[in-house]
Symmetry: C2
Subunit: 156 residues, 2 copies
Amino acid sequence: MQKNTSHAAGLHRASLRKLHDLDAALELMYYGWRGMTLSADQYLATVGLSRPHHRILYVVARQPDISIGALIEILGISKQAVNRPLNLLLQRKLLTSKRSPEQHRSKLLRLTEAGKRVEQRASDHERKVLREAFDRVGPPGAAAWMAVMGVIADNN
Amino acid sequence: MQKNTSHAAGLHRASLRKLHDLDAALELMYYGWRGMTLSADQYLATVGLSRPHHRILYVVARQPDISIGALIEILGISKQAVNRPLNLLLQRKLLTSKRSPEQHRSKLLRLTEAGKRVEQRASDHERKVLREAFDRVGPPGAAAWMAVMGVIADNN
DNA sequence: GTTCTCACGTCAATATAGTTGACGTTAGGG
DNA sequence: CCCTAACGTCAACTATATTGACGTGAGAAC
C-alpha cells in the first residue's frame, strides 16, 4: 500500500471549510496564479531559466532598447536583484546590451533571436492556459474577468 | 527636482506594448496577485510575519486539529519548508500543538485566540480587495471571474 | 516481549530570489 | 574644472524554498 506522497506537485486545490463567503475566491486567486505559471515554469526549467529571467525577457521583448534603469522601474525590484538574472541572459546570448555612442550612460537591452524564441515559448504556455479558460466562458465572461482583475490590480 | 525613485513599491502597472491579444490578461494576473496580497503583507509585516505564516494560519483556521502531514499536503510544500514558520507561530503562541494520548504519532495544530485574530485581520485585507472588485462588476461578473479562475487553477 | 519497519517530525546544508550597502564610472550643470 | 547625481556592478546578508540525513514512536511480525 503506497501512500500518495509522491505527486505533491499537484498541490491539492484544497477542500477547506469556508469561514467567509469570499474564501473560495481568495483560494482561487492563489491556485490560479500557480495554475497559470506552472507549465511555463516547467518549460523554463528545461532551458535552465526561471521566473525572473522570463520577466526580463517579457519586458525587453515589448520594449526593445530599454535601459536597465527603465527595466527596473517596470519590474518593481531593485537594480541589484535584476543584475544576476540579467547577466545570465547576456552570457547565454538571449539578450544583447549596447551603449549607443552618444548616450553612453545607459546600456540598451535587446533580445536576440534565441531570446525571442524562449520568451515566446514561455509566454505561450501562460497564454494557452488563459485562452482555454476564456474559451470556456465566452467573451462576456472574459471581459468580466478582466474588469475584476483590473480593479484588484489597482490596489497598490 | 526630485526623481521618483522612492515610491518604487507601486510597481507600475506597465504600459508595455502588447505583442499578443492575451498579453493584457497575462499582466493582469501578475498585478492582480500583487494587488490582492499587498495590503495583507503590509499588515503581516507589522506583526513580524509574512506570507508563509499566513498560509499556515489560514489552513489551520479552517481545519482545526490538523496534523503537520495534512497541512503539508494542502500547502504543497515540503515538510522542511513548513518547519521554520510553523515553529515561529508556536513560539509566538499563535498556534498550539498537542499530541492526543492515543494518537501519539502526529501533532494536532490549533489556533490560539491571538492566532485567530491575526489570521482574520490578514485575510480580511485580501477579502476587502476582492469584495470591492466584485461590487464593481456585480454578481454575474463575480461568477464569471470565479469560473475563469477555476479553469485556470485546474491547470496542474 | 522483542524487533522491524515506516510515517512523523527535526536538523543541517544548499539553492534561489530578493534586499541593503559600498563603490567605480559617466554625463552634465555650476 | 569639478561637483553632483544617475547608472551600473560587486559583495554581503535575509528569506523561502529545496534535498539529504537522522531521531522517535506506533503497529505488525515473530
